[in-house]
Amino acid sequence: MAANSRTRRWSSEAHAMNETKLCVCVCYRNYALRRVRDAFKANRNVEDPKAVERLMEEGWQTLALIQRQQTVTKLSETQRKFFSCLSASFSGRFQRA
């Protein structure tokens, strides 16, 4: 059970981190990466099953939100932000800011 919970947490975190790397706007991308990482770190030691379930649900909802917002942001793309070349190192797949 504990192993399943850890696996699900790792999976949720990995999915969220991968999606944030695809964020179009560099300022949102950096914030999302940092916030997701810090949120998982802060809740790493939560053991109560109900709390874990709630946090996991929040995590999946946040992931869905990031995916929706990526689509919306691409609809009104702007030119590259000045700093995008430095921040692109966060993402192996993302080619444009």
Binding site: C27, Y28, N30, Y31, A32, R35, D38, L65, I66, R68, Q69, T71, V72, T73, K74, L75, S76, E77, T78, Q79, R80, K81, F82, F83, S84, L86, S87
Partner: protein, 457 residues
Amino acid sequence: MEFGSGFKYCIIHPFSSGSLESIPAVLGQFWNRQLTRPQRFRTVGRKLIKKHEQDEPRPLYMDFQATTPMDPRVLDAMLPYQVNYYGNPHSRTHAYGWESESAMETARKQQVADLIGADPREIVFTSGATESNNMAIKGVARFYKAKKRHVITTQTEHKCVLDSCRILESEGFDVTYLPVQNNGLLDLELLEASIRTDTSLVSVMTVNNEIGTIRFMRSQICRSKGVFFHTDAAQAVGKIPISISDWKIDLMSISGHKIYGPKGVGALYVRRRPRVRLEPIQNGGGQERGLRSGTVPTPLAVGLGAACSIAQEEMEYDHQRVSMLANRLVQKVMSEIPDVIMNGDPEQRYPGCINLSFAYVEGESLLMALKDVALSSGSACTSASLEPSYVLRAIGADEDLAHSSIRFGIGRFTTEEEIDYTAEKCIEQVHRLREMSPLWEMSQEGIDLKSINWTQH
């Protein structure tokens, strides 16, 4: 996919000129699926960028006091109400109205009111903090004008507050503009001494938008003297903890676009116990308890609510991060450049608003030199004028230092790289401008510039 050099705006823009004949061609390609889905999105999006701007990168954004980018979570909350749930929240007869009203009331009750510790019936949605300030100041003063004709404010308030007071003066009210100390703080003894028997309202902003000073708010002075206390909390809400009961606030203005929410929405807190009465400025169908008639824009209200809710959750995290970034910027700049003054109190301040004066350098020149960074020398509403900020004048800054000030705004989305880049560029450009400055040269030679008698010739 390129459409020719004459194509400057996206063709789906309703008012773009000279492009109507191209619409069928592009729509045909969409419909015929000649473009892939990502290509279609990129094509449409790219055409919104003007041609001459495509190769020019956008500057870093360091002006969070002027406005803030909308948090994606706020936009996600708003979109359904922009697209699908478009009912009028004041329509009582069908489901479109009910669902819209439900969303608006959720935003009012569980989000905006919760953030400041208010009752939901005390929250009135407005078009922004400017309207809220106008409503509070003019509304309260006019309602109680039979017996109370005196209003108190400070010299460093936002323009909308000062202008509202000016209008009251033209209507025959007495207005006292209290001076502030050199650190931007208000002397509470002076405030207490200024209150008269016919004072109806005291208006003091919580966090100053230009120098970031936090006014001391835990004061019983106004409540003990039976005077209403209004505060413009546009820069404070969601950034520092606010309790309207502890601070004995009777009216509070809230702005949506200062807390990563949408532009065009705000709120006014109007206390019910003891009741604050005010004369409405906008009359009509009696919405918002008759205080602000007009259809409440449901998507914007939902956005404001989402922004308040996110701010409440993220306040501590954002505050720690903004403080860290602000210290990083200030230490970098002040350790490398001599003769830099931070305006405002160094302790009682919101860390995300840093106003620095660089001696011997003209502020507008430095702004132009830092063209890669979006900065400001004062408030956005006075940015069109080349006059130095009236706030800096009010805190007693020298004329030359007032001309040399730059405001750095740090927010939720600011990164360490942006701070480092801004600091390095600022240091480089200040050194460059000072090398060109005869005043800097004279000061290096030990000449006291204040002793010079400048004459015209």
